[in-house]
């Protein structure tokens, strides 16, 4: 058994090596669990939308519950003009939620504990929102850095703060998810190690902690997916409905 709690985050190749111009593009355990999560989401939707009825079945009801949850969230944070972005936000939320949940299974790999994954998702959202902002508002999107009603002598400082705040969005968005997943799974592994090392006599206490931590991690898994989706919506709202 691995004693290093960080070993669970190691990425390794699955199957044949695949490289392009010397860059390794092989299928890895991370890719495998991304694929598994996506297949689970597809199964969930296929089962829910196979035979749709006005009076829904259990799985259809679950589909509609997720659908309405995200729909309501988008309506509350962005407004009704965000309907075209609904599938993207839904995909983001379900993808991160499933990755987080699958990562909690024993011997599974937590894809969202990889900073490159969370950072890539965050940077895609950041660039996408910036493009949407410029497409909707033109050069006026730059007003996001210049809040109205600020005294003239504070203006340069505020603009600088706003620019830093705007540019740090992908970092904060990605690090939040990554750090939460990393910390949670490391703790689980550490307590799991205690259970094994203390044996059948003293292992009960860390085991009970492990159980409690698992429950907490399930909550965190949902919460982080939700926070990621909500923040994406808030950034989108800044681009679509400029208040400054």
């Amino acid at each position: 058994m691995a004693t290093n709690p960080m070993q669970q985050f190691e990425v390794h190749r699955i199957g044949p090596s695949l490289s392009f111009n010397g860059v390794d593009l092989s299928f890895t355990n991370s890719s495998f669990f991304m694929l598994i999560s996506s297949i689970l989401i597809i199964i969930f939707f296929v089962a829910g939308t196979r035979r749709v009825n006005i009076v829904p079945s259990k799985i259809q009801l679950l589909n509609e519950l997720v659908f309405n949850f995200i729909s309501k969230m988008i309506n509350e944070t962005v407004g009704p003009n965000a309907r075209p972005y609904f599938p993207f936000i839904l995909t983001i939320f379900l993808f991160i939620l499933t990755l987080n949940m699958v990562g909690l299974l024993p011997y599974a790999f937590t894809v969202t504990s990889q900073i490159i994954i969370t950072f890539f998702l965050a940077i895609v959202i950041f660039i996408g929102v910036t493009i949407v902002g410029f497409a909707k508002n033109g050069i006026g999107f730059l007003k996001i850095f210049a809040p109205s009603g600020v005294p003239i002598f504070l203006f340069p400082i505020i603009v600088a703060i706003e620019i830093i705040s705007f540019l740090s969005r992908p970092i904060s968005l990605s690090v939040r998810l990554f750090a939460n997943m990393l910390a949670g799974h490391t703790m689980l592994k550490v307590f799991g190690g205690f259970v094994v090392s203390l044996g059948i006599v003293g292992g009960w206490l860390p085991l009970s902690f492990s159980v409690a931590l698992t429950a907490l991690e399930i909550l965190v898994a949902f919460l982080q997916a939700y926070v990621f989706a909500v923040l994406s919506c808030i950034y989108l709202n800044d681009a679509l409905n400029m208040h400054h």
Partner: protein, 192 residues
């Protein structure tokens, strides 16, 4: 506190990543970064495409159709409610009219009854009056006759008495006049 920890993580990520990766953070090993980005892009795009093209429109259509269905049912219910309200109003109107009609009939019957009663009463009073008059007349006649009988008996008795005492037969007409006078005096003394 939070910003400090974020700063530490940023420092570890961007300025000290190789050292940290070796120490124990496999996430900072860039060996599979491009591979992960590639597979993430492929898998995410496929998932996004499926959700946008198939699942999302289907669920949107379903929710819209359900909303319309519920809306139509609500409209139908509203229509039924209005009809019920209308029927209730008509029912109330009929009830009010029936009550008024019943009241009118009741008053009419009462009046008819009263009229009949008063008619019967008058008839009864007339009969009673005539009967009373008849009875009074009979009583008076009987009284008169009785008085005459008493006077005759008193005359006969006095005649016999006088005859027995004196042995003289008195004159009947004189005797009757005396008796009549005495009886008149008696009458007067009774009324006084």
């Amino acid at each position: 506190m939070k910003s400090k920890s974020v700063a530490i993580i940023i420092y570890l990520l961007f300025f000290n990543k190789i050292a940290f990766a070796k120490e124990g953070m496999p996430q900072l090993n860039p060996e599979f970064w491009l591979s992960q980005i590639l597979w993430l892009t492929i898998i995410f795009l496929i998932l996004y495409f499926l959700i946008q093209k198939f699942f999302s429109p289907k669920l949107f259509a379903l929710i819209d159709s359900r909303t319309n269905f519920i809306k139509s049912l609500l409209e139908e219910a509203e229509l039924c409610k209005n009809q019920i309200q209308k029927l209730e109003n008509e029912h109330n109107l009929i009830i009010t009219e029936a009550k008024n009609e019943a009241k009118k009939i009741s008053i009419k019957l009462k009046n008819d009854f009263n009229d009949k009663i008063s008619l019967k009463r008058k008839e009864f009073e007339n009969i009673l009056n005539s009967e009373t008059l008849k009875a009074e007349q009979e009583i008076n006649n009987f009284k008169k006759q009785t008085l005459e009988n008493i006077q005759n008996i008193a005359g006969d008795f006095s005649k016999e008495l006088i005859e027995k005492i004196t042995g003289v037969t008195p004159n009947s007409s004189n005797l009757n006049a005396v008796i009549l006078e005495i009886s008149n005096k008696e009458k007067k003394s009774q009324y006084v």
